[in-house]
Each structure stands twice: as C-alpha cells, then as structure tokens.
C-alpha cells in the first residue's frame, strides 16, 4: 500500500489554466505539507496543515490555494498558471509535534507551456 500518494504524476498545461493536484496519506498522520522543488533541486515549503488547520503559509502567490477536506487529504489548487510554476510538487505527511520525520509522496511534475 502506498503511504503518501499524489495525482497526477505528470501535468502539462497551458499558461493561464487552473489545475489541481491531489494528495492522500494512509499513515494516520495529523500533519501534511506541500513543497515545491525547482530545477535546481531546492525544496521549498509552501503550506502545512495540522488536523485540517493551516499552520504554515509561506510567501506563496495567492493563486495557490491548499484545501484539506480531512486529515488524510491535502489538495493544491493553482489558478492562472504561469511559466514559473513549472516544478515538481511534493506532498508530505508526518505525525504532529516537533521533530517528526516526513514521508513524501512521489511528486507531481508540472509543466506550464
């Protein structure tokens, strides 16, 4: 069974479109994250949710909107896609509390044309 799953794995779309990426974890974790990894492999935190509550919201354009319908899911919706949004987006989860290891999903490679 996959611990953290993301769909889709690949996403190719035109500038200006709106798209969503879904994430689900079956580990029973309370905390979920979205990261963006650019072409230089730099991993940047975008959002973090704990028990469906937003706890981290880094400086991310408001075109990005996370939604957590329940503890096991954290989806990412992106409006008006731009070329610079092209990256790999990783979802991750961990138990709540400090110093918890994170389990990552396989990533979604987004290409904006």
């Amino acid at each position: 069974d996959t611990a953290v799953s993301q769909t889709p794995k690949y996403l190719v779309t035109q500038m200006g479109n709106d798209k969503s990426i879904k994430c689900e974890q079956n580990l029973g974790h309370d905390t979920m994250y979205w990261y963006k990894q650019d072409s230089k492999k730099f991993l940047k935190i975008m959002f973090s949710y704990n028990n469906k509550e937003l706890i981290i919201n880094e400086t991310v354009p408001n075109r990005f909107s996370p939604k957590s319908p329940d503890k096991a899911h954290l989806n990412l919706h992106i409006n008006s896609l731009e070329l610079g949004d092209s990256a790999v987006y990783f979802c991750a989860s961990s138990q709540s509390g400090t110093a918890r290891s994170q389990f990552f999903g396989p990533g979604t490679r987004l290409t904006v044309l």
Partner: protein
Amino acid sequence: GQQVMQIPQYQHVQEGEDFTTYCNSSTTLSNIQWYKQRPGGHPVFLIQLVKSGEVKKQKRLTFQFGEAKKNSSLHITATQTTDVGTYFCYNNNDMRFGAGTRLTVKP
C-alpha cells in the same frame, strides 16, 4: 528565520572514495534531520539527530551533530553507485531544507 547552509552543492567521486556533506547554522538547532533523494525520486528520511555531539551510523553512513548543535555532517565511506542522489539536511526549527548536495559516483 534560521537557515542551514549546506555544502558542497555538488560532489563527484570515484566509486570507493568517501563523501561528506555539511550543514551549518548560525544559531543553535534543536535537532536536524537528513534525507536522501534518488534521481527522479522523492526525499526519503534517513535519520534525526537531537543530542549535542551525537553520532549515529547506518552501515556506511555516519551522521554527526556538532557539540554546539550548529552544524551537522553526513559521511559516506567507500561510496557505491547506489549512493547517487541528493542529500538534504532539514532544520526543524524553521522547517526548511538545506540546498542539498548532489552526489554522483563514477563506477
């Protein structure tokens, strides 16, 4: 917030050589984690260090946390092609990853 500086950015070694990546912080870290990301893969948790001066080993990998808890290192002895990937440190204080060290190994 705190930032961990990770060096080197790239390291290319011959198979069998050793490899070390370092993370340094200007302020004291409560703990530090290390992750490995294979090419085309996702980050995978390796280990967490919490105590001052802590040293942990996983087969050929040795992880250290400095006495002042401001730096950490990951050392691989006698690298193998399976070690290829990017190694990241993670600062739990501000929830940020280091820039990563990309390791390539020539057979």
